[in-house]
């Protein structure tokens, strides 16, 4: 079913076009939504990160400030032991988060007798403050990190978070501030104030962050160690780098490096232990401690809304496409159905079955017009073929009738030329070639009695059926009129009178006729408008015969004719022809003409009438060489006596 293909093509084309447009629009929309969501997310998480960092740093500031203040105080002058003790108490009590404060001095810096001096005020389990003095060989604080690092760095530092074994395994960090004393213009390092704070509150702040529904936040230290994380197993035990290495994630390692460098920004995280699914992370530095805060949001949640909406839109689109395809199929079928039925009918018609009915289409569109055209074409074709068949049949019938007419006409003409052997006193031969199936030329001969032979050659005006009919009439008349003893002129006269009667068509015929006396060789002849024949004398040359004037037969009833006479010797010939010979045209539009005819006769070596006749006929045919024959061609030759016989008449 070819038109299933047409409907199918329509559906396929339209659907794919629509689908393409829809998909393009949709992906553009989706991409724009994603971008706008990300922009929003970036803004929100940046704000959140900053505010959280601020919150944390405020607390830390609360620790740093008093420590720094007292460091300045200590730098101002020598202190008493009691003062120092007061200071530590003061600091420790100022902030509930402070676990303990210690002021430690360089050797002999506090007290000339004391190598070690460390006053430590701390909170007990019940919350009350306690004090102690530390520093001994077993506790050589000068080598400890919290003492060394700020001393060497010459500035206040925050330590890395650590677990305090002594204090119930709480995560802590220590803020150490070095203090100095001006002595003789130089600043001399005197000692460290360090404050321990627990980081529980930090954990609380960070875990309390409302990061969308499924997001979380974490904090890493200067070394990348997790300070807080929803996965408590990671806390303190792992760094962001160990995690990155563990999962072979190079991008995470680079992100980690940027974080501890103090970088800030929004990055994408592929699925890794940190967040399992693809997520987005905003990280911001905490400048005071060198830590970094990261806020992580799973991408699913970020995009969940637009994804859901997107799915819905796609579903709607698909539904719409489906609906459209149904519509298109219906429409395509509606269009192609008439085409299909038309195609079926036309296949039949093409096979030749012109009676096949075309489907009735009433739509006014192109298909309706096509069907209408086809219908009228079919009718016209049918008519045409019928006409053609009739005409061809008629033509064939006509042609077959013509063939019959020709054979009738040819049988008119005497075909039996008595061979010379029979009588020995004459020889006659004739040939007639009509221009069409039937013609208007005639020849005739008959023995009027034992010693006289009558012969005639005629040419009816025109050609074809009218000429043929007239030819039959003329021949029959002449034969009936000719009698022994009658002069040729009389034969012509009488024939003419009969012909002129009832000759409305004004047909006329030229005739040359003669009577040869077979004993004496005397030839009496008359002419009615016919071309002069040629006399061929055996030993005395060839010449035109002088013919008497005479009007064509059938023109005027009163026409008169004249008889002339010549003597023929044995072997002499007379050659009679019609103007079909002299007026035969070559392809080069040349006429055969009397000149050529005379030449052909003169140069002929044929001795018998038959040979001569055929030779002339052939010469004319060769001359015409393929050009259509324009007129009937007739040649008749009559020899007196035998060509080779005795020269003297019997």
């Amino acid at each position: 079913m070819k038109n299933r293909g047409l409907a199918f093509k329509l559906v396929a084309l339209i659907l794919s076009g629509t689908a393409a447009v829809f998909l393009t629009a949709f992906s553009y929309y989706y991409r724009c939504s994603e971008k706008s969501v990300m922009a929003n997310v970036e803004k929100n998480t940046r704000n959140l990160a900053h505010s959280t960092v601020h919150e944390i740093e405020t607390v830390l500031m609360g620790v740093e400030k008093p420590a720094r203040n007292f460091a300045t105080l200590l730098s101002m002058g020598r202190q008493e032991t009691d003062d120092v003790a007061r200071y530590t108490e003061c600091i420790s009590s100022s902030n509930p988060e402070i676990f303990g404060t210690a002021i430690s001095f360089e050797p002999y810096a506090m007290d000339r007798q004391s190598y070690y001096f460390l006053d430590y005020c701390y909170r007990e389990a019940d919350g009350r403050l306690a004090r102690t003095r530390l520093g001994s060989d077993s506790y050589d604080y000068f080598t400890l990190d919290w003492y060394q690092i700020p001393k060497v760095l010459d500035r206040a530092t925050w330590s890395e978070p650590y677990f305090d074994e002594g204090g119930g395994n709480i995560m802590m960090a220590t803020f150490s501030v070095p203090f100095y004393r001006e002595m003789d213009g130089t600043r001399e390092f005197q000692g460290i104030i360090c404050v321990d704070i627990s980081l529980l509150w930090l954990k609380n702040i960070v875990s309390a962050l409302k990061v969308y529904q499924t997001g979380h936040a974490f904090l890493i230290s200067r070394n990348g160690t997790f300070i807080t994380h929803p996965y408590s197993s990671l806390i303190m035990g792992h760094t962001v780098f160990s995690v990155a290495e563990g999962s072979g994630d190079d991008s995470l390692r680079r992100i980690g490096q940027d974080m501890i460098r103090g970088g800030e920004g929004l990055v994408a995280l592929e699925g890794n232990p940190l967040s399992r699914a693809r997520a987005w992370m905003y990280y911001a530095p905490m400048s005071s401690t060198g830590w970094s805060l990261a806020i992580v949001i799973p991408e699913d949640e970020l995009y969940s809304d637009i994804r859901r909406l997107g799915r819905q839109v796609i579903l709607i689109g698909l539904g719409g496409l489906l609906l459209m395809s149904v519509l298109i199929v219906v429409i395509a079928n509606r269009i192609t159905k008439p085409l299909r039925s038309l195609a079926c009918s036309t296949v039949d018609i093409a096979r030749g079955n012109l009676d096949t009915e075309l489907p009735g289409i009433r739509t006014g569109d192109e298909i309706g017009r096509l069907t209408a055209s086809f219908a009228s074409m079919r009718v016209a074709l049918k008519e045409y073929i019928t006409n053609l068949t009739e005409t061809t049949a008629a033509k064939e019938k006509y042609e077959s009738e013509l063939k019959i007419a020709r054979s009738i006409q040819m049988s008119f003409l005497p075909k039996r030329f008595p061979p010379i052997a029979e009588k020995g006193n004459f020889e006659i031969f004739a040939r007639l070639e009509p221009a069409r199936e039937i013609g208007g030329d005639l020849y005739d001969f008959s023995l009027l009695d034992d010693d006289h032979i009558f012969f005639a050659v005629g040419d009816v005006s025109d050609k074809g059926i009218p000429a043929a009919l007239f030819m039959a009439v003329v021949k029959t008349l002449m034969k009936g009129i000719a009698e022994a003893g009658m002069e040729p002129s009389e034969i012509l006269k009488k024939t003419n009178v009969e012909l002129c009667r009832d000759n409305d068509s004004m047909m006329f015929v030229t005739v040359f006729c003669g009577v040869l006396d077979l004993k004496t060789g005397s030839l009496r002849y008359s002419n009615a408008g016919h071309d002069p024949p040629i006399i061929i004398r055996r030993d005395r040359g060839t010449e035109w015969l002088a013919v008497p004037d005479g009007l064509v037969l059938g023109a005027m009833e009163e026409s008169d004719y004249e008889t002339k006479e010549i003597e023929l010797r044995p072997g002499d010939k007379i050659l009679v022809y019609t103007d079909g010979v002299t007026e035969a045209m070559s392809p080069g539009k040349e006429l055969y003409s009397e000149v050529r005819l005379m030449e052909a006769v003169k140069s002929s070596s044929s001795d018998s009438a038959e040979k001569l006749t055929l030779e002339i006929m052939d010469a004319v045919v060769e001359f015409a060489s393929g050009a259509p024959q324009s007129d009937d061609i007739t040649v008749l030759a009559l020899t007196f006596g035998s060509p080779k016989g005795p020269l003297v008449a019997q």
């Binding site: 025109d462 004004m506 026409s559």
Partner: protein
């Protein structure tokens, strides 16, 4: 074949040029019929341009001549070319019709 007709004095002059054969002969008859419709009875046929005439052409002339004769009209021919002259001679038409050497003579004589 080309045929032109024009009136000269009381004659209808018919000029024939080209070849008259079975195909073109009817044109000659038609042209003569037109003149006869106009009431002319004296015809002069100028054959100065006629190169060839077949028996069909002769027949057409015979038909016209017969018609004119029955209406008491007359027809003459002039300025025959040698080929046509010969045909007229042999067929005897030359003796039957009045034939002149030139148009002037034909107009003067009829």
């Amino acid at each position: 074949m080309e045929i032109e007709r024009y009136k000269q004095d009381r004659f209808c002059v018919i000029q024939v040029k080209g070849r008259m054969d079975a195909v073109s002969a009817p044109e000659f008859e038609t042209a003569c019929a037109k003149c006869m419709e106009q009431g002319d009875t004296a015809f002069v046929v100028d054959l100065a341009g006629l190169e060839y005439i077949s028996s069909a052409g002769l027949r057409a002339m015979l038909v016209v001549a017969k018609k004119l004769k029955s209406n008491n009209g007359s027809i003459s021919f002039c300025s025959l070319t040698p080929t046509v002259e010969r045909v007229f001679s042999i067929s005897g038409f030359r003796s039957m019709f009045s034939v002149h050497d030139s148009l002037t003579k034909a107009l003067a004589n009829s």
